[in-house]
Amino acid sequence: MREVAIVAFAQSDHRPDTSDVSEVEMLMPVLRRVLDDVGLTAGEIGFTCSGSSDYLAGRAFSFTMALDGVGAWPPISESHVEMDGAWALHEAWTKLLTGEADTALVYSYGKSSPGDLREVLTRQLDPYYLAPLWPDSVSLAALQAQALIDAGETDERALAGVAHRSRTAAEANPHAQLSGSAAPGPLLDTPYLVRPLRRHDCPPIGDGAAAVVLAAGDTARGLCPRPAWIRGIDHRVEPHALGVRELTRSPSTRLAAERAGAFDAPVDTAELHAPFTSQEVLLRRELRLGADVRVNPSGGALAANPMMAAGLIRLGEAAAAIHRGGSDRALAHATSGPCLQQNLVAVLEGEPS
């Protein structure tokens, strides 16, 4: 199989409200930075793939405006997924494996600020039996968190510990929307948002964009001193109806990790797309991450959770850790849908220096 690596990563500063810029204006500096990093132009890239959602933008074909910003002239080989950019990366990786392209630009973006995200995400649910009840994303995550507590997998103090650790780590992340945290004890004195979740258990709602460049073989070596080689990447989906899922388990994460080779050797770093503290507990177990693994040194989705980009950012952050020599083997995870319905796992490695 052809070797493919992430050779560059860039992201915006994630903000609660970006009404001063359009999506394209939010995205373009990120594209510029990631392309400058490898010294390529949009026209020199072999394949371009993006991820975004019309429902966040509030208009049909919203990705066409972003494409205008990319500068697709002369015409480019390009595709788009209505998913988090992590899945756009998967499509681009597949394209590079065929040998039809040597480099790929992957980007994604989302602005949650124009709408009420909790309400908007209810439109993602089964339109006949679930969406008419308007169960919002925090309430659904609270059901899962309560199931985990009831099963003895965690408790509210442990969840506060996840929040504290993540947002303290985010102090070193200049792009984070939320950083710094009170100690777990005082966090538990705050009121519930949706029991058993308190505000600190939930991700910030905000806007942001991210981009990576992929390259194959020697092209990757020429573009990046220490490429983050994709040793495996896989994604799986679970049933949609919460009633037929065991919410304290994530079989799709486990299977994707197995297929990606995550259990073949230990990882030193993991970037998990766990928007809610309780989901980190669940993912750690399914991914068999020991206490010695650095989990979400970026602060993770609890520090910045731009819809459609937060998963790609996990891959980008894991790759960046390898680029700078801070990791030799890292796991990156992305999720989509209510209560971790769909999950992607990638294993990245740097060559011994």
Binding site: Y55, L67, P74, H80, G99, D234, P239, A241, S336
Partner: protein, 388 residues
């Protein structure tokens, strides 16, 4: 490393109609998927991954509906990818699925595209609100009519060419049991006297708004060897995109379309498309796009496309049959329309197109476009595996 050859071993379509009130979204996609599996004599367990596509989620009012459809698509425990590239999406979706087989990531992939337009009003769904677009662009026809007028002015095409295309495609649709429109009493005169919607596009020269889905099973050489019926082999596939509007854009014959065709022909070893391609399933939502795309795709010299239409070459029994299925003018579940083109091209080279079979078709082109004539997806399929 050479790519794995990709074969189409199963094709399934729903009954397309204005409103499939008898099925849910899940029921609609399942109908197409089951027919594709049945055609391939496979079961859900034989499918390694699912790639689904559709146009804007606003058409049904469900955000990222593939999450809800995971069960109906038999995707639980499998990879599920959702493509959205505007009107070309049906074609792009098939190409993304084909890439997974070509890259040897998966051996057998179910790919499906759908739209259930009766859930909303597609014309107004395509009319973007201010500030995204200037007002008074009512639907896709309002966007494309000026491009058609530019084509007429540029080539001197007579005003009646469009009606010939519409009359041909609607008659072809009478041979296709899945087509939405079956206008048995249609005459050329009726097309020419139908109400003018967006000058010069008349009512009968416009695609309908349909509910429908289309599915294909794509597989590798080993899968093809087990196929119960003839396969269609992919000989080339490509996507090209360009910006919506910019100074110097050729809206009549966009460069992205020409580049995309050139790439696909190069892969398939086609140097003279007019002679080497036996049947074309072309994305023609408004009649005039047939002569326009004939030029863009290299079947006619610049300015000559309308002459090919007038000469009858693109009729079902002509030298270069275009849209033997009745095309988008007879069936248009937008997200699925591109995949129907790809699937109908496959049916032609498999010899499985029934009443609208082009005699002896061995090489066929499937074509889709979308957005502001800016997204293109195409494939060439043949009755024999690619050589080399």
């Amino acid at each position: 490393m050479s790519k794995e050859p990709v074969a189409v071993v199963g094709v399934g379509q729903t009954q397309h109609t204005a409103a499939r009130r008898d099925v849910s979204l899940a029921g609609l996609v399942r109908e197409a998927a089951l027919r594709a599996l049945e055609d391939a004599e496979l079961t859900w367990a034989d499918i390694d991954a699912v790639v689904i596509g559709k146009a804007p989620d606003f058409f049904e009012g469900v955000m990222m509906p593939e999450l809800y459809l995971a069960d109906a698509l038999g995707a639980v425990g499998k990879p599920l990818l959702r493509v959205h590239t505007a009107g070309s999406v049906g074609g792009s979706t098939a190409l993304v699925a084909a890439t997974q087989v070509a890259a040897r990531i998966h051996r057998t992939v179910l790919t499906l595209a759908f739209e259930k337009q009766s859930e909303s009003n597609a014309m107004w769904g395509l009319s973007l609100p201010v500030p995204f677009q200037q007002p008074l662009l009512a639907g896709a026809g309002g966007f494309f009519a000026p491009h058609v007028r530019a084509y007429m002015r540029r080539t001197g095409a007579p005003a009646g060419t469009g009606a010939l295309v519409a009359y041909k495609d609607r008659r072809n649709a009478l041979r296709n049991p899945y087509a939405h429109l079956h206008e048995r009493g249609l005459t050329l005169e009726k097309v020419r006297s139908s109400p003018m919607l967006w000058d010069p596009i008349r009512y009968s020269e416009t695609c309908p708004s349909s509910d429908g889905a289309c599915a294909m099973v794509l597989t590798d050489r080993a899968g093809a060897a087990r196929a119960p019926r003839p396969c269609a082999w992919m000989h080339g596939g490509a996507m090209r995109s360009e910006p919506t509007l910019f100074a110097g854009k050729d809206c009549v014959s966009p460069r992205a379309g020409r580049d995309c065709a050139a790439d696909v022909y190069r892969q398939a070893g086609i140097t003279d498309p007019r002679r080497q391609i036996d049947a074309v399933e072309m994305y023609v939502p408004f009649s005039w796009y047939e002569p326009m795309w004939l030029e863009n795709l290299g079947f006619a010299a610049e300015g000559e496309g309308w002459k090919l239409v007038e000469s009858g070459i693109t009729e079902l029994d002509g030298e270069l049959p275009v849209n033997p299925s009745g095309g988008v003018l007879s069936t248009n579940p937008i997200g699925a329309s591109g995949m129907i083109r790809f699937a109908e091209a496959a049916l032609q080279v498999r010899g499985e197109a029934g009443e609208h079979q082009v005699e002896g078709a061995r090489t066929a082109l499937g074509h889709a476009y979308g957005g502001g004539s800016q997204f293109f997806a195409m494939w060439v399929v043949g009755d024999a595996p690619p050589t080399g």
